[in-house]
Amino acid sequence: MARMKFLCDAERCIECNGCVTACKQENEVPWGVNRRRVVTINDGVVGAEKSISVACMHCSDAPCMAVCPVDCFYRTEDGVVLHDKDLCIGCGYCFYACPFGAPQFPQAGAFGLRGKMDKCTFCAGGPEPDRSEAEFQKYGRNRLAEGKLPACAEMCSTKALLGGDGDVIADIYRDRVLRRGKGSEVWGWGTAYGPGKPGAAPAQPRKS
């Protein structure tokens, strides 16, 4: 069974923000919202600069899901964390709880009133019928239902950003690390997929 994950190789990311742009255009993301962003550590320090692309990591035991007052999240059988915008009340709790700051809110009114939460869907749309107009309007393209993988990872020019079945991308990465002999850290996996307590079983999908 496939378990969808993202992996960003900090050794390779050149901070071109191509993934951000690809995501925005593929999903026609609302104004003011970026589902993916690139963060540079030690910007401008020669030898110490590293960039990482980050979006929703589709956590195993997702804090966003746990705090949502209307319980609008679900996890697909591929491990993708999705939500129902028709139910979302824009309370912002998922944004407080998410370790990666993935949930974003288009401004819906004066004084910073939050609209419906928007976040990376792993290019898997939402609960509307797959590949329908309604789904595209609310969540963007459903590439998984087209047999494709997330646009950001597929177009990454240096292949720093890998996205797809966790086993496959881990293999690709292992292969790569062996070849270059350094930089083996898998960014954010401990936070997103690690069992919360030692010995705890990872969460299973809640079917949509």
Partner: protein
């Protein structure tokens, strides 16, 4: 480090006033001191190109980095570690907040409200309301002016809207959602959230006015100390024994100072931090504000349950006073003797009212 700051903040009374945002203020760094840890890690990373540990340390630190994406905290990769009161170890701030919210606040807060409700109702069924000893005289005294009653009911009704919508947002997922289904529940919660947001400023204004108009009558007096004596208080509730008091008694004064004033300040401040996300406050500030907001709300709701009980079924005649503004002399004498003695026969006690109008309601003669 931040977790310790949080702990201190959570327990210090100063933070009550300074507010959650202030508790989050980062420690100031002086430029001329030894290089900051961040600087040291940078140098380490440059000096040891094969060693990625410094970079990953910075990733987990929650420090702001560089990003070209606009927005608040987009330059933070992972929220820093944090620990809320009662948590034994640090976890990502969001995760810590999730555990505090879904664990401590939901569990203890929920139990607290339920237990207070149970205790009040159990008491009512066991002992019944506080009764008058003598029949009403039929002579009325003005206890609350129209303005006072308008302010009271504005506060009370907005409080109830806030409390119910707040409870729905915390517990509705478990209680209501399974009963009424996601579509209706989400619609109700959306309505509740918007009511919560728009009624809150109205509530704050009402409380401010209320505090101003009743401040003088709530200044503590020596007689009020009796309300700190459990035996006396028990005697009052269980056996309707009289405790002399001025316009407001000791219990009402505690409610005024600790509840209406104290808790309202906590609620209003933390609520405003949550209400206006456009001031670029951090997630940590909003998490802390939420913890203050929800914890104080639980206490406020419990205290208000007590107040509502005493104002309705718990004390005979109390509800009519706030509803109509007039009270019978017997009631005044038995509950607020000093006030009664000061103002006996004076029908303009409340301040602005005139003589009792012809149609003024009378207390029911059923004691």
């Amino acid at each position: 480090m931040q977790g310790i700051t949080r702990l201190i903040a959570a327990f210090s009374a100063a933070a009550l006033i300074a507010g959650p945002a202030a508790a989050q203020a980062p420690a100031e760094q002086k430029a001329d001191e030894v290089p900051s840890p961040q600087q040291a890690e940078r140098e380490r990373a440059a000096a040891q190109p094969g060693n990625n540990a410094p970079v990953w340390k910075e990733v987990r630190s929650g420090q702001p980095n560089y990003t070209s994406i606009p927005g608040r905290e987009t330059d933070v990769l992972i929220q820093p570690g944090a620990r809320f009161p009662g948590q034994s170890h640090f976890s990502t701030a969001g995760e810590a907040w999730r555990q505090f919210r879904n664990g401590v606040v939901t569990f203890y807060g929920g139990w607290l409200v339920v237990l207070v409700l149970v205790a009040i109702l159990a008491f009512y069924f066991a002992k019944g309301p506080v009764k008058l000893h003598e029949p009403p005289t039929g002579r009325l005294m003005l206890r609350f002016t129209d303005f006072e009653r308008i302010v009271h009911w504005s506060t009370a009704i907005s409080f109830c809207i806030l409390a119910v919508s707040g409870l729905v947002m915390l517990f509705g997922k478990h209680l209501l959602l399974p009963l009424i289904g996601a579509t209706l529940f989400a619609w109700l919660t959306m309505l509740g959230k918007n009511l919560h947001n728009f009624v809150a400023p109205f509530f704050i204004v009402s409380v401010v006015v209320m505090v101003i108009i009743w401040l003088r009558d709530n200044l503590p007096r020596a007689v009020d100390l009796q309300w700190l004596n459990p035996a006396k208080v028990w005697g009052f509730f269980a056996h309707s024994e009289h405790i002399p008091s001025g316009r407001f008694n000791g219990g009402e004064k505690i409610w005024f100072w600790a509840g209406v004033l104290g808790l309202s300040i906590v609620m209003a401040w933390s609520g405003l931090v949550l209400l206006f996300p456009n001031f670029d406050q951090t997630r940590a500030a909003m998490q802390d504000a939420w913890v203050w907001h929800a914890s104080a709300a639980m206490l406020y709701i419990c205290a208000s349950l007590g107040h509502i009980y005493m104002g309705t079924i718990g004390v005979e005649g109390a509800y009519g006073n706030m509803r109509n503004g007039y009270t019978d002399e017997t009631w005044a004498k038995e509950h607020h003797e000093l006030w009664y003695l000061e103002h006996k026969g004076d029908r303009r006690v409340g301040g602005t009212g005139g003589a009792v109008p012809a149609g003024a309601p009378h207390m029911k003669e059923n004691a």
